[in-house]
Homo-oligomer: 327 residues x 2
DNA sequence: GCCAACGACGACAACGTTGTCCTCGTCGTC
DNA sequence: GACGACGAGGACAACGTTGTCGTCGTTGGC
């Protein structure tokens, strides 16, 4: 900027005025300054600008498990749209379900003075974010609650969804229903498992522990779990899958086996309706969740709601075939 | 920081030293300062730090068409991993194929003084980035070249891939092959169409213009295009699809029709192998492309390669069934 | 012809850090 | 006991902006 001012033969403040389109500069001077700016390729340094103004930085951080997971990538896109509508920029980070990594990313974002943070929190304690919240950083938790901190939260009705999915299988006459879920320390995994148990209990259907397999959805683990559930002298006749990753991995394993149990998956996924046996799912609306979370964040930045909001997004059972196979 | 210094009864520089773990502070003083920092919830302002140091900001911008597209979300994730390995943060933006929007995002990122920019460029001229490049911002173009600027570029061998896919259908005996691609101003769409034409020409197979439909993959447009190609008195017997969005949309349309043409898709996609008729594809490796682009960017930041690099990532034909249907 | 009002512009401080350089006190050595 | 060396810590400027306020010249009104 100094160079521009010198080259145009004006003061620093005049360049600033031109750059920001402020009044008080004659058209002649402004034109001269603009010419020099173009020629020198000058760009305002927003870092310095924000430092001086002490205002919002116009940036928001998004922390989730994995951008490559379709559920999160849709959520991510919805967040981005809202952020863009508010003329803000988006910083993204994948925690890979590692709380240390999440923490490092979150603090890194905050050191950059993001206006707010939208987080899909790991199960670890998040009290370390209390100072940021106190400093005015808007925090929104999405998909899961944030342990150790009271913040705006957007959740799906995981339990009701799992109940609906399991009940659907029970209605087809299944009594021996397996449950394959994500690692049990993940909030949604625990909630959905609880929903499954509740539906089974409501139906007076005892659950045998070998029917339940919880853990990160890796092919080998799922192969063993399925072998155990399906090769048993009393095999399960239906499966409930805890999330889209698990459902897809299970479908892939089942393709290599003879058994064709009924199946309901939590989370909708692309092409679920075009498979040989279309997959019945309990659908979430990741875009709605992302949009809601982002809007909550900007409302919070406007200082609107006093107390932290808790929003529940409904799930929806979509029968497609795989859940309608009788035992 | 002033508050911390005052509360701890030390000078500003001492707080700075403690925060940055510099030597020259007694353990007693350091402990006192740390206690005050914890109590006040002080966090260093990286904006000011970077301003003072004039160094790199440790942040990278990623601009692509749509984070929710599985191709880009995988690419995105790979970029993120490399960025994280270099202790940098990632700003993400979706251009939605709108060059004005891309430009606004790019300039916004640059105003934040990102160290570099990884871009999936729209077809518009990108000369506006020349000043940024001159100012030392590393630029990498991925998936498509950047019109109007010579930068490091990572491309798939689109043409060879399309040739391979089309030739595969020709080998099955197809002569009347339709091509459904993205908007023709998109580099990859044009290249792949050229590959299709080339393979057809090489086989001495004349192409009739009604067999070709180029445009954003919207269901209605594709429905008409397919109706035209398949209901013709001389219908096409096979289809080549230009990208994953188109392939999926076409599969969905075909599910509502009687005809079962052979089909090869450009881009692999999840569950392609589990469909009723598994889909033969020309697979790209989006993660490799993202990783390569990001590594190129950091090499450039280290000042390594003199001239802009151009890297070609190979595609791979994966026969699965849908392409092996004879006419 | 004088003065007020106004428009155009610049000087300067401040935002929150850190690099440089300086001061001050203590300790060891001869 | 004097002196040098060294460790701890502080004062100050600077990074690139912008808000505040002041200056200067011109114009219009009476």
């Amino acid at each position: 900027m100094k160079d521009v001012a010198a080259a145009a033969g004006v003061g620093l403040k005049t360049v600033s005025r031109v750059v920001n389109g402020e009044a008080g500069v004659s058209e002649a001077t402004a034109g001269r300054v603009r010419a020099v700016i173009d020629q020198l390729g000058f760009r305002r340094n927003d870092g310095a600008r924000l430092l001086r103004q002490g205002a919002r930085t116009g940036s928001v951080g998004l922390l989730l498990e994995d951008v490559a997971d379709p559920f999160y990538s849709q959520l991510s896109r919805a967040v981005e749209e809202v952020v863009r509508a508010h003329d803000s920029l988006l910083l993204t980070g994948s925690s890979a379900e590692d709380s240390a990594r999440e923490r490092a990313l979150a603090l890194g974002f905050c050191a950059r003075r993001v206006d707010g943070l939208i987080v899909v929190p790991t199960s670890a304690d998040h009290a370390y974010l209390a100072p940021e919240a106190a400093a005015g950083t808007a925090l929104v938790s999405v998909d899961r609650p944030m342990p150790g901190l009271e913040v705006d939260t957007v959740l799906a009705d995981n339990r009701a969804g799992a109940v609906a999915g399991t009940a659907h299988l029970l209605r087809q006459g299944h009594r021996r229903i397996g449950y394959l879920g994500d690692a049990p320390d993940i909030f949604t995994a625990a909630e959905r498992l609880a929903g499954y148990r509740q539906a089974m209990a409501d139906a007076g259907c005892p659950v045998e522990e070998p029917w339940i397999a919880m853990g990160r959805p890796d092919p080998l683990g799922l192969r063993f779990a399925l072998a155990r559930m399906l090769s048993d002298p009393h095999p399960v006749t239906a499966l409930m899958c805890g999330n889209n990753r698990t459902t897809v991995a299970v479908l892939r394993e089942l393709a290599g086996r003879q058994e064709r149990p009924a199946l309901v998956g939590f989370d909708d996924f692309e092409l679920a309706d075009l498979l040989a046996v279309p997959v019945t799912v309990v659908a979430q609306d990741p875009a709605l969740m992302g949009r809601t979370a982002a809007e909550l964040l900007f409302r919070r930045l406007r200082g609107e709601p006093a107390a932290p909001q808790h929003i529940l997004v409904r799930t929806r059972l979509i029968p497609r075939g795989s859940g309608e196979i009788p035992p």
